[in-house]
Amino acid sequence: MDQEKVIICKNLTKRFGDFTAVNEISFDITKGEIFGFLGANGAGKTTAMRILCGLSFPTSGEATVAGYDVYKQQEQIKKNIGYMSQKFSLYENLTILENIEFFGGVYGLERKEIKRRTEKLIDTLGLQKEAKKMVGELPLGWKQKLAFSVAIFHQPKIVFLDEPTGGVDPVTRRQFWDMIYEAAASGITIFVTTHYMDEAEYCNRISVMVDGKVEALDSPRNLKEKHQVTTMDEVFYLLARGAKRSDN
């Protein structure tokens, strides 16, 4: 494989006191890949993701994101990634345009460039009428689509999505995944966590975390074959039922 590795993770560990949230996980992610990061609640997904985003220091192990070290070069990492957190995190008291302008500006884009990309984005999303509305007034599905668009607005190398479709209706979820495919096709690597097993099927490769460890890592098809089942639901159940931890 001579393809570019954008995330390399080796024995990455994060402890809080004597609780090991992330326990020696290792994986590589290739450019343009859609990588599904699965696991039960409390398995350590968000913690691992926060380390890779440069929001949290690991306790031990190694990892590079977009070629930068997660211990020392967090600010370099941040220039090259997009992040969409579990909590909706655009400003509800700013309009769609103002949100896009702000986040574009923060990533150092020129005003002209922001304007050009914004027009295109508003067109693609079909939000011409709502562009000057407060983001707080939008329905959840639109908010999530907008948040994703803002996360990739500065054309990062990798985008991290933490349960992006939680609480969203199936039609919008489908549209959301169309957007993800489109982004991946343009060369952006997608790192996504989800609890929906139908979404897991859309990924190129999947890892399943159980109690802080990566228990399985392969394409959905290989995983199903290996466990001799027909759906990802069953794969997940087989792997995660041994979990001792759950939220709180």
């Binding site: 220091f57 967090q74 600010e75 923060v106």
Partner: protein, 374 residues
């Protein structure tokens, strides 16, 4: 700098969009400046007095008429005995009871001395204290006249009671009006409130709704984020300070006697210091309730320890040290000095250095404690 412009644009949009905060920021100062100094008038004029006159002599009559003509007292009753008079205090009708003993005149003329009893209702401590203080002054005055008479009668009695007379003159506030003391202090309080609370709540709010995480995952620099939060409130603080000075001159006729530039230079630095404190509190709090409590704690200390109500010079030594550790103390002092006394820079140099120190320390600490990666 380019990034900072985007951040400032966003902050101003959000601040001016929240109408309730906007009203609070501009209406609150006006109301506080107009209402507080009027309500906090410590000049006490109508003290309710009950008198028990057991002597019924011409001297006791003279004393009573002197008291009633002083203008500070309402004589609400003249009672035959102490038991009845004290009832008025119990019913909160009287603040002070004065009892003139029997043989008041005879003892004064013959022995040259006589005791009087004054009973004050100390539940309202200020009124009682000031009331009995006034009463003492009137009695002392009466005393001088009496001494004079006695000296004429008894030439061999060399009582020097009236030889030294004290004439008091109050500098910088000749009429001893309370407003000169309190209005500049309320102005300081306002800046402290705006600077301290607004930044704290603003940043902690971003923590609460989770947008701060989105900020932390961008390549924004710490100084950019913090400047983006400080500058808008700094500008608003300066505007409020200006409006406040306007209210001072229009409503209270208090015009700064000293240099306006110097006053603004101090407001400039002081705001940076309190904004820094707000920032610091916000880096240690996770939600608005926590932040409010901590900010409130500091505000209470500032109000009570900064010389706002009580002179710092009369505090015990440890309290004075403590008081000097709050930036408010220095600013209250300087504002009074510049506005009332026309002090120049050389008079307030030390305070200037103190405030610069506070500004540097608090902001430095806040920047150090704000972590994009935890």
């Amino acid at each position: 700098m380019k990034v900072l412009r985007f951040i400032l644009q966003k902050e101003f949009r959000q601040i001016f969009r929240d109408k309730s905060i906007l009203v609070m920021m501009f209406a609150m100062p006006m109301i506080q400046l107009v209402v507080l100094p009027l309500a906090m008038d410590f000049d006490i004029k109508s003290i309710n007095l009950s008198i028990v006159d057991n002597d019924h002599s011409s001297y006791s009559q003279k004393l009573v008429s002197k008291i009633s003509s002083s203008g500070y007292f309402n004589i609400i009753s003249v009672d035959p005995n102490y038991q009845q008079a004290i009832k008025h205090i119990e019913k909160e009708e009287a603040d002070v009871v004065m009892e003139i003993p029997p043989n008041f005149e005879r003892n004064l003329v013959r022995a040259g001395k006589q005791q009087l009893s004054v009973y004050a209702d100390a539940i309202n401590g200020t009124k009682a204290g000031i009331g009995s203080g006034y009463l003492n002054m009137v009695i002392a005055d009466f005393n001088n006249e009496v001494d004079f008479n006695i000296q004429k009668i008894n030439a061999n009695n060399t009582n020097q009671g009236g030889a030294i007379e004290i004439r008091q003159r109050s500098w910088f506030n000749p009429l001893e009006e309370y407003k000169f003391n309190i209005v500049p202090a309320v102005l300081v309080l306002l800046l402290t409130l705006i600077g301290g609370f607004m930044t704290t709540l603003n940043i902690v709010r971003e923590k609460e709704i989770g947008t701060i995480e989105q900020i932390n995952v961008t390549p924004i620099k710490k100084w950019q984020f913090i400047s983006g939060k400080l500058i808008p409130f700094w500008i608003i603080g300066m505007i409020i300070f200006t409006v406040g000075l306007g209210v001072c001159s229009f409503v209270y006729d208090i015009y700064p006697k000293g240099s306006l530039w110097l006053l603004y230079a101090f407001a400039f630095i002081y705001l940076i210091a309190v904004l820094g404190l707000g920032l610091l509190i916000s880096t240690y709090s996770d939600n608005q309730v926590q932040a409010m409590f901590v900010a409130f704690f500091f505000m209470m200390i500032f109000m009570l320890m900064s010389g706002f109500f009580t002179a710092t010079d009369s505090m015990p030594h440890w309290a004075r040290v403590f008081s000097n550790l709050t930036p408010v103390t220095h600013f209250v002092k300087v504002v009074r000095m510049i506005i009332l006394k026309s002090s120049g820079f050389s008079d307030v140099k030390m305070e200037f250095l103190y405030l610069i120190g506070f500004a540097g320390l608090l902001n430095g600490w806040a920047i150090w404690n704000y972590k994009k990666t935890s």
